[in-house]
């Protein structure tokens, strides 16, 4: 059974479900997992930080707010926050690097925000597949806590 997590969405589920996020560019996918309760969540997050005021629209498009939302939902579903581990993928810069100033390298900022938010919650990052200039699709297996990362362009896949 696999569930799709679209842009600006967070989802949680339990073993043996698989959560998938397709076509990540500068977006990041943050997966959180409690290996004992075997429940976990995945967020397909778009923007690095929720503005302090005048935030428009859903919380789950921000990396920092989205991570907090997954943690909240997992704890409510019976996970222990101290046992949570994280895996992060995405945060690429799809349009070549020589014009970084034009697009302000949003992917790198997303990845940085994910690391900072997870560090502030004391959640260790056990695997990362971030940066570069290629799109990724991730599958997060809640039976094992493994995250498969696929790259379409060079037919590459890694497990983190």
């Amino acid at each position: 059974m696999s569930t799709r997590v679209t842009i600006a969405q967070v989802r949680i589920d339990q073993s043996p479900a698989v959560l998938k996020a397709y076509g990540l560019g500068s977006c990041v996918a943050v997966a959180l997992y409690d290996p004992e309760a075997r429940i976990g969540g995945l967020g397909h997050l778009l923007l690095p930080n929720r503005p302090k005021k005048n935030a428009l629209g859903s919380e789950s498009k921000y990396v920092d707010a989205g991570i907090l939302e997954i943690v909240d939902q997992l704890v409510q579903a019976g996970a222990n926050q101290d046992r949570l581990i994280a895996k992060v993928a995405g945060g690429a810069n799809m349009f070549e690097t020589s014009y970084q100033t034009l697009i302000k390298s949003i992917g790198a900022r997303n990845a940085r925000s994910a690391r900072a938010t997870l560090a502030s919650l004391g959640i260790p990052i056990l695997g990362e597949e971030i940066g570069g200039n290629r799109g990724r699709t991730v599958e997060f297996d809640l039976a094992t806590g493994n995250m498969m990362v696929y790259c379409a362009r060079d037919d590459d896949q890694v497990s983190i």
Partner: protein, 206 residues
């Protein structure tokens, strides 16, 4: 102005403005490749940001995306998307016989960017004349990857002002009955503040 509050007159205005702009862009493309180029009446869609990759045929479909920012009196971005087969056919018409599949070399990247540049410039100059504004395209940037990954940076700009995107989409193609038609999607992604400029100047005002 939030996209959701646009009324039908305003949506029609956007369609018509886009129709004129795309007409110029298609003429430019047709001169460049020496073939007739047909286009469909633009479609204006207001959609949740998360649904945009679906409108492009799925987040994992391989696409060539060329993006330019609109500079000058209005802000926004333009995104041109070619499915990989169409990008390949386009390169065949531009550069003569090519490898069997789409291979991104320095020459092919540069040729595709130039197509993007010409289409966007023709479109923006038509639009600018109509609105009496100066609209200048930035340097084109290109990515060849999954549709979801290619469009998400355009969505990032939009998502700062809400959860909805407005896509003005025009499909163009060669001779309709040919299997070898070149298909593409052209998206204008105006920033919400810029929309007010459109309406105050073309008379679709509230």
């Amino acid at each position: 102005m939030p996209f959701r509050e646009l009324n039908s007159v305003q949506l029609d205005t956007l369609k018509e403005v886009s129709n004129i702009g795309m007409g110029h862009a298609a003429t430019a493309l047709s001169q460049m490749i020496g073939q007739r180029v047909n286009l469909t009446v633009p479609n204006v869609t207001i959609t949740e940001i998360s649904q945009v990759p679906e409108h492009l045929g799925g987040a994992e479909k391989m696409m060539v995306g060329i993006t330019l920012q609109i500079l000058g009196d209005a802000r926004g971005s333009i995104m041109l998307l070619f499915p990989e087969e169409s990008a390949h056919r386009l390169l065949c018409s531009l550069l003569g016989q090519q490898e069997k599949g789409l291979v991104m070399t320095e020459v092919s990247v540069s040729a595709l960017k130039e197509v993007g540049n010409i289409l966007a410039s023709a479109y923006l100059s038509a639009l600018g004349n109509l609105l009496n504004k100066t609209l200048i395209p930035s340097v084109p940037l290109l990515a060849y990857d999954m549709a979801g990954a290619v469009v998400d940076h355009a969505l990032i700009d939009l998502s700062q002002s809400g959860d909805f995107a407005m896509m003005i989409e025009t499909d163009f193609g060669g001779e309709p009955d040919q299997d070898l038609a070149i298909k593409g999607h052209f998206f204008l992604l105006p920033d919400p503040v810029t929309l007010n400029i459109f309406f105050s100047d073309v008379g679709g005002a509230v």
